[in-house]
Symmetry: C2
Subunit: 166 residues, 2 copies
């Protein structure tokens, strides 16, 4: 887990920024750096919580995608597009899940060049128990309440849309 | 750059989530997943913009930290603590910056076991020109305005503080 700092490093960076480049770029620099740092911290907490379920956060995300898919299986390429990860990372994520028996690779019924990842019974169980734990921990967002979280989702949704997410 | 999806994958995940686990965990799951996806997208844009300055976002962050330090130099361990990165990653970040002539490693004046990274003239120039470009692009946060960005920073600040950032 990263060290806790005795001061807010983003507020400090912002003071330097505004001193040198004026007030205008301050809000966007601070917001983007906040997203970056929050992501690193949340990822550390999520990976820590998922470890004793045999999962990492990227593997958990792939498993949830398969759990919610209509047939319990998806082409590897589609998993990459949905999770914004490179084909080589999808391969390594699916390798890890397959080694733990959470998914198996199966050929596509009609297109033999396409490989599907299919969630197994053990994969469904791991997805369920891991989710129960993350839900109970509110994904490490305490003390934020539902209203604040939803406003966060809406505002970040604008950033995501502007950045070409959907 | 990741592919643009024809729908919001987080809204879809949330529908599945609430169908299966009820409304309670929806807001925290959606907010955390939003932070994760926004980070991936922003990082892709930032890396793309920084590439022709010979930088990546992690190298840029380290360079800015040195630029703002009182002597233009910091111990490698302190860089890691400030940027929440592992010692091995600090080594690789500083290796990259050193290979491009943006920093040099120098021994600490009094404690010979400590190595400092010191920003060079070329490093200062790269930091300045890269920042001018990122400031002009508002760190890829358009169309958000200053007020929204500042509210985002405040709310994410609560998440960061709860997660042990500062």
């Amino acid at each position: 887990m990263p060290k806790t700092l005795p001061f807010d490093p983003i507020a400090e960076a912002r003071r330097h920024w505004e001193h040198r480049w004026g007030p205008e770029p301050g809000p966007s620099m601070a917001a983007v750096t906040s997203i970056m740092r929050a992501q690193q911290l949340l990822l550390a907490h999520l990976n820590e919580a998922l470890r004793h379920h045999g999962l990492t956060f990227p593997r958990y995300e792939a498993l949830m995608l398969l759990l919610f898919s209509s047939n319990g299986s998806l082409p590897l390429g589609k998993i990459g597009d949905r999770l914004q990860v490179h084909p080589t990372s999808v391969t390594s994520i699916v390798d890890g899940l397959e080694a733990d028996g959470f998914v198996r690779r199966v050929p596509h019924e009609t297109d033999r060049r396409t490989t599907l990842a299919e969630i197994t019974r053990a994969g469904r169980d791991a997805a369920e128990t891991a989710t129960t734990e993350l839900n109970r921990a509110a994904f490490f967002t305490e003390p934020l309440r539902a209203g604040e979280l939803d406003r966060l989702t809406v505002v970040i949704g604008k950033v995501r849309q502007a950045a070409g997410d959907f």
